[in-house]
């Protein structure tokens, strides 16, 4: 009886916590409507198959990976975090012929984009998303 009671307590406590999170915060899609709108803007500006860079700080790992999956397979995304060596960015640009970038945050070390478009803030999160052309 004690084991069953303890299981009931543990199971219902876990369910209650996650149900609360799910029904307060989870939207109808893994991609929020803001994500979808921002991704659609970027997709519209890119040629099919064009590889795009995504630059972000480590605190935005989830969002960076979300964008990578959201734009795939039409547009492969190379993610560069601010903690990655700058040399890697050069290598990736050369290897994949990357010309344009999405910047989330932006972190202080982010490349300055030409013709930058502010795609707006993300609800409930600091910073915003920008899209533009990388300097040569």
């Amino acid at each position: 009886m004690v084991v069953v009671a303890a299981s009931l307590a543990a199971g219902f406590a876990a369910l209650r916590k996650d149900l609360r999170v799910a029904y307060l915060w989870a939207g109808p899609s893994i991609f929020s409507t803001v994500d979808q709108r921002q991704m659609a803007s970027v997709r519209a500006a890119l040629a099919k198959g064009e590889v795009v860079l995504l630059y972000a700080g480590r605190e935005n790992v989830w969002h960076a990976r979300l964008w990578q999956r959201g734009l795939y397979p039409r547009n492969p995304v190379v993610v560069q975090f601010d903690s990655d060596p700058p040399q890697r960015l050069r290598e990736m640009r050369e290897r994949y012929g990357i010309r344009r970038a999405v910047v989330i945050g932006p972190p202080p070390s982010a490349p300055r984009l030409r013709g930058e478009r502010d795609l707006g803030a993300r609800p409930g999160l600091p910073g915003s998303v920008a899209f533009g052309e990388l300097p040569p």
């Binding site: 199971g11 876990a14 999956r69 993610v79």
Partner: protein, 450 residues
Amino acid sequence: MRVPIPEFLLTGGLAAAFATLGEILLARRVRSLAEGNEAMLAGMGAAAAALFPFTLLFGGRALAAEAVLLGTAFLLAIARRIRTRDAAPPESPPRTRDPLARWLLAAVGLVIAAFAALNFRLTYVWDGLLIWATKAQLLSHAGALTREWYPGDVYDLRHLAYPLLVPLCESLLGVLRGGFHFDVTKPVFFLFYLSLLAGTYSATRAVASARAAALATMLVALVPALVSGPAAGGYADMPQAAVVAAVTAAALKSRADGRSALPWLIGALTTVKSEGTILAVAACAAVALYWFLDARASFWRRSVHESQSLAIVAACFLLRLTYIRWVAAPVDVYSGSLSAAIARLPEVVRLCVAELISPPQWGLLWPGFLLAAVVLLAGGSLREKVLASTVGATLVLLMAPFLFTTWPLELQISQAYSRLAAQIAPAAAVAMVLGYRVARNRIDEMRVLR
């Protein structure tokens, strides 16, 4: 709650197709829910194991070949049913008249409803998206297994070697609906949750009363790692637990026709998560131990007699190992030395035990199992003794990867060990109710003797 109705129905069709493939492999017709669950998981495991050879044979059409295989199995099963529809009707197990068992099953029904409410509302949790559904996306796009991840990603390349049963189910759902989409794969996890509970009930019912079976099912249904965030968030641990439950059921059931699903299900263990290979080794060791203790003199004769079963399990191990070699993914998380592993053993054991006795994560499941294991080892049948010792040994075996981790030890154990232990929770719950039964019988005997 948003139930994607078309995908929900398609998942049901997919489950039926896997079950018909299982029927062909097991050479027997499904006659009950428990047999349907066994056949489905056997079919899933075989299909997931076949994906690698299909990739070598058919290139980018491997996923399509899987769909053709399942479609053919499904049509064959329909044709066979039409041809033999006047044969003996399906067996339905006698309905329990035990009111407590009925109440317990009703309560399990409520937990299933709560899981559905969470599963169909929550989006993916970390690994659910970044590993498992991602593998499904890549598989759907390439149509086969590849040795590539997204361009430029190096660290995540290690995920390439992860097994494929869950991504395969998600991808095949994409094939059926005309395209992969992250937002509609959740019915797959509801299916696995039902399978987990059906397997647990079936395992306990094979050797105990309906009340005991309902109780074990209730205990498993409420394990936080199997009913809440990770399970509903797309992780593969709960599907792995579903296969463990089915393995336990097949191991505890005796079949007069000798057509046990056990070898296919042990093989299926290797196709869900990487640690499934450890679980499959533990299951093989348990079977060997049982054969040895049951009739030492005929151990080798029995092994030869079961050579077909051994070949099935060996083929699954071989496919898994060959796939890992083919992918050649970097192994950068588990690369510590043996001396370092020995030095950190006490710390690993301490941290893992702390996880197992954490009430918010388990209630009292593992302390309860420990007591039951002592009772079963002292007074259980041979099968029960082997079950208890296998679960205990597997809990220890699952600590082994942490001895070699390059991650911060405390962080990795807190994130992973409970999920690993949850995979064997169905077998532990079965052992627990059997231990309770043995203890109660012993107490009753002592009362009578007084």
